[in-house]
Structure formats: structure tokens, C-alpha cells
Symmetry: C2
Subunit: 423 residues, 2 copies
């Protein structure tokens, strides 16, 4: 649904949002036998918050008191819908860990964005399942507006993961799974032993996600800059393990989405990957070793198997949209995280999309997400007609459409290197 006139409304589907209970409230969703472990987890959480308050008190207090009501949308669907409406958003995708400030709305045992750091498989699955039960509850209210992303700690057991995937696939509004960003000492994602997981996700049309957050913190000491410099890479890393491990060949319906890890890196990564396949001079000695693993050019898996939930993308990423692919990259508000655009999404969109063609805007703000997650655009139409911004709201020229030639030639290396799909 590309706006056809200045006052037609965009259907915004935010590909990055978060939902979660206050930690303590997850107890009701947790098997009783884990209560002693949960008590220990709560002590750690509370100590962590005290620590955070020590050196960032003003920032934390300001955020929490100015947004007290809106933050409750993390677990209350009525409040969530009110916040989405006010922000111009028709539907959103729900990852775990709603509190990115002091981590007080995360699933038991850190089973959300830091699931790879859990050592005990029982705790990993118990925490994930508690969150998934909560997620099924919140997604059951207006499921057409929800894209719940269930937690599945696949590094801790393939068989149990498949069972969890089969359960979440039955829950209305759950539209994907998130796996641990890091496999740590467990099996890397290029390994075919994960095939039952990929098969289950491909069958159920549940895209597999990583979401930035986890990184080897134990290596960083007090160097926060190192964390910032690396965190995105760890979230993107699984994409090439799946690709070059052949998972998309064996399961052509399998989708992988990397979320809130930006998108600026995609053009260079596609260029270099395609170049390996092209067997140019510098990789000639490798060519023999690459045969048979993949059948298309690596860049051709973007938009069919690999997608990017770039959240509040930068202007430079918007400028690179044809190389990245408007059928690949998806906007997200990151609600209710403070680094996102909520509750000022329209201002941000106006600032950054003012000169962007309406068809490109419609794709990046919603149409691509609708395809990836199977949102029903007809069901969302009445909501969009009520809350979505218009091209006029974004300061756009409603007659500006993309140039097909600019789209087709954006991946410049294809011509410069003459790369072709491997035989």
C-alpha cells in the first residue's frame, strides 16, 4: 500500500519493539521447581540496578519518570496500542527485554538478549518458555498488530528447541523466534546438526532472529568503547554461518533477520561475499574450496533469506537503500527503549525521509516487514487509516517515485567484477 496521494497514510510496521514483564512478575509463568534459582536471579538483577543507578542516576531517573505510563505498554496490550497509535505505528515486532536501561523487564535467567551467556540448559529453556507464555498472552490481544518473537535457546538442545518452536507456531501473533546471538562453547550455527531447527522454522514460516546486545563482555574489562565497536558484529555473524554453511540451500524457505544491528555494513559485506564467489585473482586459491555450498550469489540471498531489522536507521543507511535493498531493510522504533524514536517517531521520520520516494518509504516502513512476518495488510488498513503518517506529514513530494535503473545498478560490484552465480 504505497500512498497514492499526499494524504494517503503509510502503514508503519515497526520491525523492532520490545515486550516484557517486570522481572519479578515472570514468576507466575515459571515452573515452581525453578523458584530457588529465580530468587538468586532476582537478587542479581536488583544488585545490577543499584550499580547502574550509582553512575547514571540522573539519566535513568529522568527516562523512567518522564515515560512512566508509556513504559507499561511493555506488558499491557491496551497501553501498547495507545502508544503505537500516538506514534503512528500500525503494528510492531516484539522482542524480549523491554527495559534497556537497567534490565528490570527481562525474562528469567537472562533468557532474552543475553541467552548465549546462560550455562545451564534447564535454566535457558525454563526462562525462554516463561517469556514465551507471557508473549503468547500479550500477542493474543489484537494479534494482527503483533509480531511476537519467541525465545528459543537452540545452542542448548536441538530436540527441545524443535518442541518449543512447534508450540510457539500455534500461538496467534507469534511470528518468529530469536536464537542466542553467541553460541559460545556450543555448536556454531554453520553446523548441520541445527538442521531440525531450521526445518521447523522454515515449515512454520517463523523467521530466525538475532538481536544485538550480547557480546563477550568478559573480554572488555571497563572498555565500553570496545563493546560499542563489536556488539553489532556478534549479532550479524550468524548470517554468514547459515549462508556459507548451506542452511538456505537445504531450507529455501528459511528466513534469517538481524535486528537492531544497523544496516550500513550490508553493502560491503555483499560486495566481498560476491567477490569470493566470483573467484577473482585474490581469492583464486580459495575457489576450489567453495564449490557446492551455495547455488546463488551471496547478495541474492538478501531479500529472500536474509533480512535486516535496522531499527532507527541513519540517513546514510537510507541513502544506501538500493544497495542494501528496500526489500531487505526494515525500519523499527525500538519501543520502548530510550535509544529508539518513541515517542517522537514522526519527527524522526520527517527529518530523515523528507527527500525519499514514497514507494521506497512505504517498503522500508512497512511493506517489507509485512512480507517477512506475514502481517495482514488488509487487517491493518483501518488502523493505518487512523494513525499512519501521510507523505505530507513527512514533508514528502507524494509524486516522487524510485528510479528503476538506480535500483537495478546499485550493487556496483556486479558489473565491476563481473561476478556470476557459482555453477
Amino acid at each position: 500500500m504505497i500512498p497514492k496521494s499526499a494524504n494517503d497514510r503509510y502503514t508503519i510496521i515497526s520491525a523492532d519493539g520490545h515486550a516484557g514483564l517486570a522481572c519479578e512478575d515472570y514468576r507466575q509463568y515459571l515452573d515452581k521447581k525453578f523458584y530457588p534459582d529465580f530468587d538468586k536471579f532476582m537478587d542479581e538483577r536488583n544488585a545490577h540496578r543499584e550499580e547502574a543507578l550509582k553512575f547514571n542516576y540522573d539519566y535513568i531517573m529522568d527516562w523512567e519518570t518522564s515515560n512512566e505510563e508509556g513504559l507499561k505498554g511493555a506488558f499491557d496490550p491496551a497501553i501498547r496500542d495507545k502508544e503505537l497509535d500516538a506514534d503512528g505505528v500500525s503494528a510492531d515486532v516484539l522482542f524480549a527485554d523491554a527495559d534497556a536501561v537497567t534490565g528490570m523487564a527481562g525474562p528469567p535467567f537472562g533468557a532474552g538478549l543475553f541467552a548465549g551467556a546462560i550455562v545451564d540448559p534447564n535454566l535457558a529453556f525454563a526462562g525462554a518458555h516463561a517469556h514465551n507464555r507471557f508473549l503468547a498472552d500479550i500477542c493474543s490481544v489484537s494479534p494482527e498488530r503483533r509480531g511476537g518473537i519467541a525465545l528459543v535457546p537452540i545452542t542448548h538442545g536441538v530436540e527441545e528447541s524443535v518442541k518449543e518452536i512447534e508450540w510457539v507456531a500455534q500461538q496467534p501473533g507469534i511470528r518468529g523466534i530469536m536464537v542466542p546471538t553467541m553460541w559460545r562453547n556450543n555448536t556454531p550455527y554453520n553446523d548441520p546438526s541445527y538442521d531440525p531447527v531450521w526445518a521447523a522454522c522454515a515449515d512454520a514460516n517463523l523467521p530466525v532472529h538475532t538481536h544485538s546486545g550480547e557480546a563477550p563482555l568478559e573480554e572488555y574489562g571497563d572498555s565500553t568503547g570496545v563493546y560499542l565497536a563489536e556488539v553489532v558484529w556478534w549479532a550479524i555473524r550468524p548470517s554468514w554461518h547459515l549462508l556459507f554453511g548451506g542452511a538456505f540451500e537445504r531450507y529455501p524457505n528459511l528466513k534469517f533477520v538481524v535486528t537492531e544491528a544497523a544496516a550500513y555494513w550490508a553493502p560491503d559485506l555483499m560486495w566481498k561475499w560476491d567477490q569470493y564467489m566470483g573467484g577473482g585473482h585474490t581469492t583464486k586459491k580459495m575457489a576450489a574450496l567453495l564449490k557446492g555450498k551455495i547455488s546463488k550469489l551471496p547478495s541474492d540471498y538478501f531479500g529472500s533469506n536474509i533480512f535486516i531489522g535496522a531499527s532507527t536507521m541513519s540517513r546514510e543507511e537510507i541513502r544506501r537503500r538500493y544497495i542494501i535493498g528496500t526489500d531487505v531493510v526494515m525500519w523499527g522504533t525500538d519501543y520502548p527503549h530510550p535509544e529508539g524514536t518513541w515517542p517522537h517517531t514522526e519527527d524522526k521520520l520527517k527529518a530523515d525521509f523528507v527527500n525519499i520516494p514514497v514507494d521506497d518509504t512505504a517498503e522500508m516502513l512497512g511493506l517489507t516487514a509485512a512480507k517477512v512476518y506475514g502481517f495482514d495488510l488488509d487487517a491493518l488498513a483501518p488502523i493505518a487509516a487512523r494513525v499512519g503518517p501521510t507523505p505530507t506529514d513527512l514533508g514528502q513530494d507524494p509524486s516522487l517515485m524510485s528510479d528503476p535503473n538506480e535500483r537495478a545498478t546499485a550493487r556496483w560490484w556486479k558489473e565491476e567484477y563481473g561476478v556470476k552465480a557459482p555453477g
Copy 2:
């Protein structure tokens, strides 16, 4: 020495070359007590070659027989000089592991490009020292043409590393050290416990290097594509561990060079790093944690502390030269590796530098390397006058000089984000 006319010659200093004995010949440089370990190492090497021959026989045989004489320049300085001359190169930088095809010219115990994988510190230092003794020998012949990069396995002992650094600093023609690309289970490079190493290198003006090659192979199974997709990152990674760990603040003379890991990544990396420091909206919550670690914008460390030995850089990297910095990025032939430009360097330069201004060309092909490594351009002048290519040889317009404004505004994010050095 920027060519002033069409027939003035460039002083090419290749920032990436390799030197090494046939494995077995390192025995003479090795302490006798390591002979039993060395016998085991040789058995592994020979088995590895047999394995490689099994599935890449034609490629390997073709390379080795067509280049039989030239490959001896890896250890014979007279042959090396002849090959450099014929390739138009006045001087080159010498890393370990001269045989990139089947690994038969590597130092004992894998102490070269894969040093991080060694478990026993005694073997790590013994292998490194054996290579350094050989390196001192080859660099002692025409040291003005050599930039030997000594091996120092700093992850295996700081005190012993400082001793090795002090020894290599005395050897004519040795101009840098290489550290393990991966620290694996040892201390990460952001940790201040490495300060004595950085101090010794800063004092002796020995730039610290990583060189691509090592990666966590144990995680890749038979997925060669995964190796290709990651190998560069592992080599670059130490740069931000040093930067954000504050090493360049404590040792302003410390230089870090990442070699044969391309250069295309530098612009985006500088942009994102500068953005963290700028404390923009998306990193606001991090700003408080970054104070005090560094005093300049991250991009400002490039050209003073961080350099890139990009080897046979791509045209796209040449196009990005002002963002990367012509005072940062250095050409290299990778002699005598098959993925390099030897013995056809002039052809490659002609193809890729034809439209590039002569001052930029002079910097990237030699002047930046002269500064980083302290090569004496006067001593090289007679060699360059004999062997260097001219602008005419490269098809260049000798009057084409760089545009100062284009240089000054290349790092576009500085204006778009209004980033400033942290207080």
C-alpha cells in the same frame, strides 16, 4: 618524493611481503631442546601438505613450478632483491609465512600468522625467536630495503615479550613486531597488563602488527566461506581494543598496523566510532561510560597511531582513499604469495591507478610506509631511480594532483553529525 614529471620514478615500498625458510631449515635457528617437538611439528606439516595436494594438486603444482626461482627470494636476499627490482619495488616489509599455499615456509610450531593457536608458551617463544634470528640474518643484507616484522607472542608472557622486543630493536632492518591475531583464552588486548609491551614498542619505534590469517577455524567445520567472511575481522579487532582500552593515550608514539586485511571497512568504522563519541541520540545512554578513555575523535587516531597495510587494494578502496586517509593506507605486493601482484605488479598498478593523482599515488605506494617504518628515502633513491615505475608507466597524467578540499571534507559524518573530540 612525488614524481614531478612524467619520467620521474615512484619509490614503491611494499607494506606486505613475506619471508621464511623451508620449515625444516628453521632447525638450525632452534634451541636443541625443542628438537623432539620440532620433529612432531614437521610430521604435521608434511601431512598437511599431502592433504592440500589431494584436492588442489593442479593449482599448487602450477604455482610452485612456474615460480620456482622467484620463491627462493623468501630466504635468499640476493634473489629477493632481483625479484623486487623486476617488480618495480624499492623496499618491502617482511612478515613470516612465505608459503601461503601449503604452509611449508612457516616458523616452527606455527609461530607466524597462526601464533594465537599455540598452547604452550615455551613453544610460542621458541618458534618466534627462531624466526626472528633468521629474520635478523636476511634483514642484515641491504637493511635499507628491508622492513622485518619480528614475531612476539605477547599473549604468552609480557616480560619475555619485552625482552624479545629489546633484542629485535637492535637488529638492522627489523622495523616492527607482529602479535598473535587472536588472544584466545589469554588476556584481551584492551587490558592494561600489556602496557610494558606497548611501552617497549613505542620507545623503540616498532609498530605493532596483526596480519590476516588466523581465525577460529575450529568453529568453521568445512565451511570455507565462513573463514573468508570472518578472517579480516579477527585481524582488525585488536585495533579497537588498543584504542578504546586507552593504549594510544598512554603511549602516544605507539603505532598499530593491520596488514592484508583490506581497507574498505575503515570509513564505516571511523564513522560509527566517531558517532559513539559524539553522544548522538542512539548512544546517549552510553556517553557517560566513555568519558576519560580517549582524548581525540577515534578517526583522528588514524594516520598517527592506526595504519592499514592494505596489500593489493581494490579499486573501490582506492576510490575511498581520502576517507581512509592516504596517510593511513599502504600498498603491498604480498610477495611471494599467489594472491598478491608479484610478478606482475606494474600491470596491476597501471590498471588501478591510471586516473589517480600522482601525489596520492606516491603516498599510498611508498611515502606513508616510509613514515610508518622509518625507511630512509635518500638511501632508497638510487634503487627507485633504477627500478621504480614512472607516471607514464602507469598511464597517469603527471600533472594531476589531489584536490585539498576533497581531502578535507571526505569524512562526511563529521559535518552531518557535528561530532567533536570528547572533552
